[in-house]
Symmetry: C2
């Protein structure tokens, strides 16, 4: 079976992967990313993840505590690189806020659209409201605060209007999840630059 | 239990609703909307939907064929009003394309954010790729084509650049799902106008 984006799914990967010698935790995360996005989180059993990663279910528990840990780590992986980028940009006083905001938007879209699977779609799972995902939510809040600081620096907005513009910019960036699904063949780097341009227009700079 | 947005969830509604005399199909759709968005689609059983709607599971099957039909109808309800609005706007030659694009964006955000539950989050379910949801996908495609026609009319864009701008505008509008979750107390009508303004800036008009 081949998806419209050209990725093969549903292959008996457990067999292919066995003996490859890859990092077992990485194998589990890759298998979880595929199954959670293709079949859905609730519909995926820990057993299915283990089998896809080419190991027994009992072995899996040497590496991870279960499905929630895999989901939490996948979600954090969609935020961590952008947050690192944001922290660096916030300290770069030499560049204007407008240019740094553009760069954060571009880099964030690259992260969100750059992986094999559309992990951004997992943000909306009801399960993400749970305590286990507090780390992800905290990182996402810090990232959004960085967007707000750069929007504030690039404009003269403040208060409720600043919050609204920040929400619209951040919403556009996270909304690329939905856009990228509609045309996964579009080159990510070009799409990331166009989205950053659009974000600056929304911010009003 | 109360959500951050102030909506009560998890109440024994089946008891409260019994004997209210509301349309049974509407009761089922309301119960499904609540459970699918609060607990998740895969985690919700048809039995749970029936009980929340105050009826037995066997009775439910007089009104609907199952969970997929409920999900398909809920998804279509997020597109149908905007599509009707778009069809009307496309025929209104007397108004400029810019003004009609703004109005479509505003109306669409009102639909997406106006309900009690955030149904837009259901767009990303893997199940929606199935045959049962072809009607929803067709309606959404037609809505997106209307956006494209209005963006084309309001700008001088064509070809790939027109597609990209349309994707960004449409992505912002559907992305309001994510934004509205972050501050559900913001008045929808004000938010819808601000989003329409932002969409015009993205379109470049």
């Amino acid at each position: 079976m081949t998806t419209p984006g050209g990725r093969r799914v549903g292959r008996p990967r457990a067999v292919e992967r066995a003996g490859k010698g890859a990092d077992p935790r990485g194998e589990l995360l890759g298998a979880a990313a595929e199954l959670f996005t293709v079949k859905g989180y609730a519909a995926t059993s820990t057993r299915a993840v283990a089998e896809r990663a080419g190991m027994r279910q009992a072995t899996m528990y040497h590496y991870v505590s279960g499905k929630e840990e895999l989901l939490a780590e996948l979600l954090e992986s969609t935020v961590a690189p952008s947050l690192a980028c944001a922290r660096t940009l916030l300290t770069e006083d030499g560049r204007g806020a407008r240019e740094r905001l553009w760069e954060l938007c571009r880099a964030d879209v690259e992260v969100l659209c750059g992986g094999t699977y559309n992990l951004g779609g997992l943000y909306l799972l009801p399960e993400v409201r749970g305590e286990r995902f507090a780390g992800f939510r905290t990182a996402r809040d810090e990232l959004k605060a960085a967007y707000r600081e750069l929007v504030a620096g690039a404009t003269s907005l403040e208060g409720g209007e600043l919050d609204l513009r920040t929400d619209l910019v951040f919403g556009l960036i996270e909304g690329v999840i939905l856009i990228h699904r509609s045309d996964p063949t579009r080159p990510v780097s070009e799409f990331a630059r166009a989205t950053a341009d659009a974000a600056l227009r929304i911010a009003g700079v």
